[in-house]
Symmetry: C2
């Protein structure tokens, strides 16, 4: 429809999640009219994020170092690991200031429709972290939806025989939603009220 | 909230129109997990669009040459000019295949709240194009909203004394909306049924 570079940009923007063709066009024309310095900054931010950001060797969270900020922090208890699906869940939980342990980011949830099985998640890495006996509690903080529940059930079965305390976040989170959309208070209360699954 | 480069990207994405903080975060994490080649392509598309795309010297439409595709096309009649607010309106009208004349892109509409007056639009350029008597009809194709109506009224008063045919798109366009959201059939019919304002 448009000439070369404009259409290329609309096409690329349209591939982003939640950006339909009309939004892509709107964003493209906004950028066409925008200060070149601002557009350059967005292009640089994209390049930088791929060049500098990696996943923490220990927990799988995003970081620019070998290990993430939480894993490096000596004030955080290594005795409790909170298992989440995605790095953005770490940010949501950190916002509550309720949790002072470490994290483990699975990189998703079990989802047969999308062909995501346990082997596609960082479960083996979690098991390795639990081997030396430092960890006493594992908090399962998956999203309160079907995939999250399936993943939590799978993990609680695997962790059950290991003699650890395994807990789930309290219900109170709105069912069917994403953890990241919960407000701080709700999420904080869900943390406080977490229930024992085994151990 | 996040470490350096991730937060920088979220901030930059959040400045785009229609992209809230949650969407910005979602897009950033999508890009973190995406193929670096895809992200590079988006970054390049941004850089390219600013480097290559400019506004047509004649009509103000977007182009990668000195003049746009429509202005260069010898099969398009120079006797009819369709005046629109934005380049995306050109695309919307081209899609109807109803119009075989040329365009003039104002670069916006009169909007006192946003401090956009007639002098901020490409009205002087339009007058220059009308000077040699080639143009016999000017079609005012502003958005059917308050700003568009105000701009059309202003232009029809300026053009009235020039002895040209001045027309407006037929009503039939949903009032209060944006021209770009009209479907092809509606917009095509609005073209056919355009009414004479003066001349």
């Amino acid at each position: 429809m448009y000439e070369g570079a404009v259409q290329d940009l609309i096409d690329e923007l349209g591939r982003l999640p939640g950006v339909g063709p009309k939004s892509a066009q709107r964003i493209a024309f906004h950028l066409l009219a925008a200060d070149p310095v601002d557009v350059r900054r967005l292009a640089d931010a994209l390049t930088e994020v791929k060049a500098r950001v990696r996943f923490c060797d220990v927990c799988g969270n995003v970081t620019e170092e070998e290990t993430c900020r939480v894993c490096r922090d000596p004030r955080r208890s290594p005795a409790v690991i909170c298992v989440v699906e995605e790095p953005k869940d770490v940010v949501a939980i950190e916002r509550t200031r309720e949790f002072r342990g470490k994290y483990h980011v699975l990189g998703g949830a079990i989802n047969p429709i999308e062909n995501v099985g346990p082997d596609d998640l960082r479960i083996a890495e979690l098991m390795t972290r639990l081997a030396d006996g430092t960890v006493q509690e594992v908090i399962l903080a998956m999203d309160p939806n079907v995939e999250g529940e399936a993943t939590a059930t799978y993990l609680s079965r695997m962790l059950g025989p290991m003699g650890l305390r395994v807990t789930r976040l309290a219900s109170g989170l709105p069912v069917g939603g994403d953890l990241e959309y919960a407000d701080e208070v709700t999420l904080g209360r869900a943390f406080e009220g977490r229930r024992l699954v085994s151990g």
